[in-house]
Subunit: 449 residues, 2 copies
């Protein structure tokens, strides 16, 4: 329930009357995420003023909950010492998320505002590859030693809790900081105080390397129902953890990214209404022009078969139906394969199963559609020849479209490109060209024109 909405009228009034002090009393009792919603309603200048009224410990948390673009905008309005304060109070993973979007020169300036220790942490995290586990992890985890008594472990947790991202899963490390076990707070509070940590820890720890992709991370969380996942360096030393709240964001982001790509929209993480018109137009026009140029080939194919079409104009009637059916089947195959690759349920080594399956599937789907379409053609032009040509062509076009849709994403994965680039419009455009060619060649051979 969005509690704060009950107060919306009062809040709007406080804003209009610029009674920011009173406003801050409201804000103090709200969840940071709700505070963000309210701050968004303020003019930039008021927003900065309101920020000044927030309780100090909440400022960084609230700042972190804005979209990255909004954070950039806010930073421009803050005084330098305030920027430094907020950046050093932010959790290292939230800070990385912001810094990786900023130009290098700005990052350099901002890093100077951090205390040396925080600067060191920020630099290390920024050096991991984009979208890797290292980029989304935080070094703020609870570590325990194997020979600690449970009571000692609990004291250690209590003492360090305020600075930690989570205390519900603690990681046990040896003297060289190698990860050797995991103990949940549940195990710890259910154990006897004098037991040793090594007695209650689990030795089978699921972990990722700093360089693993965030999609791998998301799939691990889902498979093992984790609350957090440790991240180790190349020598198996524990360097950070990833928490489930960040993974939820990753899953949504990756899903949004793949979804938009399916519709041939260049990746945009921002929200629709908060993305500028020209920015969004820019993200759309690139693919549209690429696809248009691909579509030029349809005009060339048609032009080269102009004589054939002129001699039998009825042929032209069924072109959109034919290429449409092929494009639709190909889009289906592409979505199935792309999603299975993304959720980790399909990998490249299954390519031959996909191939066999989708040839059969194309024949099966094509045969059914061929009967429906052939019937429609005969009914409208009363020419059995054209009906047979369209019927046969539709099977051929559907088998081709289906295979293109299924294999192209696998091919993209093979050459290390993102399979999700194979959008429905891309498949449709490819099938349009191939389909026309198939149609006219089948016509020529079957009708001997």
């Amino acid at each position: 329930m969005q509690w704060y909405k009950i107060f919306t009228p009062e809040i709007k009034e406080l804003i209009e009357k610029k009674e920011l002090k009173e406003l801050s009393v409201f804000l103090r009792n709200l969840h940071p995420a709700d505070t963000v919603d309210i701050l968004r309603e303020l003019e930039p200048a008021d927003k900065v003023m309101a920020f000044r009224l927030l309780s100090k410990d909440k400022t960084a948390a609230i700042f972190s909950m804005f979209e990255i673009e909004e954070q950039e905008e806010l930073l421009k309005h803050f005084a330098e010492h305030r920027v430094g304060e907020i950046l050093s109070e932010m959790t290292p993973d939230d800070r990385t998320e912001l810094l990786e979007e900023l130009p290098a020169s700005v990052v350099k300036q901002l890093l100077k505002l951090l205390p040396p220790q925080e600067r060191e942490i920020a630099n290390v995290l920024l050096n991991y590859p984009p979208s890797s586990a290292g980029r989304i992890m935080t070094p703020e985890y609870v570590d325990l030693k194997e020979d600690m008594a449970v009571s000692e472990a609990l004291d250690h947790i209590r003492r360090t809790a305020p600075d930690k991202e989570t205390i519900y899963t603690c990681y046990v490390i040896d003297k060289t900081r190698k990860l050797i076990g995991v103990a949940s707070l549940k195990d710890i509070i259910l154990a006897q105080p004098q037991q040793k940590t090594e007695e209650i820890m689990k030795e089978m720890v699921h972990y990722v390397k700093t360089t693993d992709d965030q999609e791998v991370v998301a799939n691990m969380f889902q498979k093992y129902d984790l609350l957090s996942l440790p991240v180790v360096d190349s020598e198996n030393r524990l360097v950070g953890i990833i928490t489930v709240d960040d993974v939820l964001d990753v899953v949504q982001e990756e899903a949004t990214e793949d979804f938009l790509k399916m519709g041939a929209v260049q990746l945009t993480e921002e929200e629709y209404l908060r993305t500028g018109f020209f920015r969004l137009a820019g993200k759309r026009i690139v693919w549209l022009v690429v696809l248009l140029i691909l579509n030029f080939f349809t005009a060339s194919v048609l032009q080269s078969y102009a004589a054939l079409m002129s001699s039998l104009i009825a042929l032209a009637f069924f072109i959109p139906m034919l290429t449409g059916a092929g494009g639709n089947t190909g889009s289906q195959a592409a979505t199935l394969i792309i999603r299975s690759l993304a959720t980790g349920n399909l990998s490249l080594r299954h390519w031959w199963r996909v191939l066999g399956r989708e040839i059969l599937m194309g024949v099966a789907l094509g045969s059914i559609l061929s009967l429906v379409a052939g019937g429609r053609v005969f009914f409208s032009v009363h020419d059995i020849g054209i009906a047979v040509v369209v019927g046969v062509s539709i099977i051929a076009v559907i088998v081709t479209g289906n295979l293109a849709g299924a294999l192209l994403p696998l091919f993209f994965r093979l050459i290390k490109l993102d399979p999700a680039v194979v959008s429905a419009p891309l498949i449709t455009s490819i099938v349009d060209v191939a389909g026309l060619f198939i149609y006219f060649e089948i016509t020529r051979r079957l009708l001997h024109i």
Copy 2:
């Protein structure tokens, strides 16, 4: 890291030699999710045998991790008393997930195998609407009273922990079971033992109603970074909680569902390679036939303009390019709007902003594409008339396609249908028909034929 993979050769050998006892020793040390991967490699009969060798407390957890279809299959092979045992050991939310997929007659029989109390719980959960918060919640939460001392609360947590889905967030209820606060285990272990629960609890609790949709639940988790979310009935009494691990599944499921719909594949939750050929063909053919029938109209439009086309065959060359560009733009708009609706960043009341924005966007994108396409047309047929006709038509078709893509999902939401049904192939098919009509009408008027 998938530890068990190191042992794969040994495990395969044990399976071949049917040394299931030794196998069970392996399995005992594995995470349930890894055990599931190994059991999948066994023949059905061996699988049932292996299940018998699992430690009792793990059986239900492992069983729950199979896909629903696999669980159904397994149940058929188990003895009746074993089925009863597993079902009553399953967490209520996992059990609901299985039961809701089974035919009513089977559910009735299975419920008889449960002890009365569990049967009661199962019945209550099954009565909530599909995909609602009630369906995915579990009643196994920790509840505290406001006047409990923190030490008492901690004792209560320790005593009841084994039966609870999570102990990291505890909910404070009054005498009528109304939800009045929330206390995290972190707050509890950091507090003084003699403090009262009401002193440390937060009164602003985020919660959902049993009837709220799971998409609302997922968006709440993401906004507020929750580990669990309480579910209340119509009288605000606490009836269950939803935990983040289940939400991660919900987010993936909803994303998969929307993604597949975008490619015109009927919702299928199962994994690609584990879905039967005919089942998958069935899920694909329905939409393909619907779209094919929609495409019939393109043939009708073309037929009615046959004379125009015959007199100027060059007109036909540019049909796929023209309708393609419109379909692509429409697909882009539809994906943007559908995803924004799903992630809660856009709601119906924004329709007029979408309308204004997408008209302008259509004109902008259409103008650019019109120049590119018009140039291409002039270059290939050297006819300024046709080039102008195609150029003007492309703007009109793109504006139409873009608006259809943007507004149809909103219209579907308005009439309480799922906006994600507006797939790229559906938009393409609609734009094909409309585009042809627009093209020929513009031709007739501009060229006076």
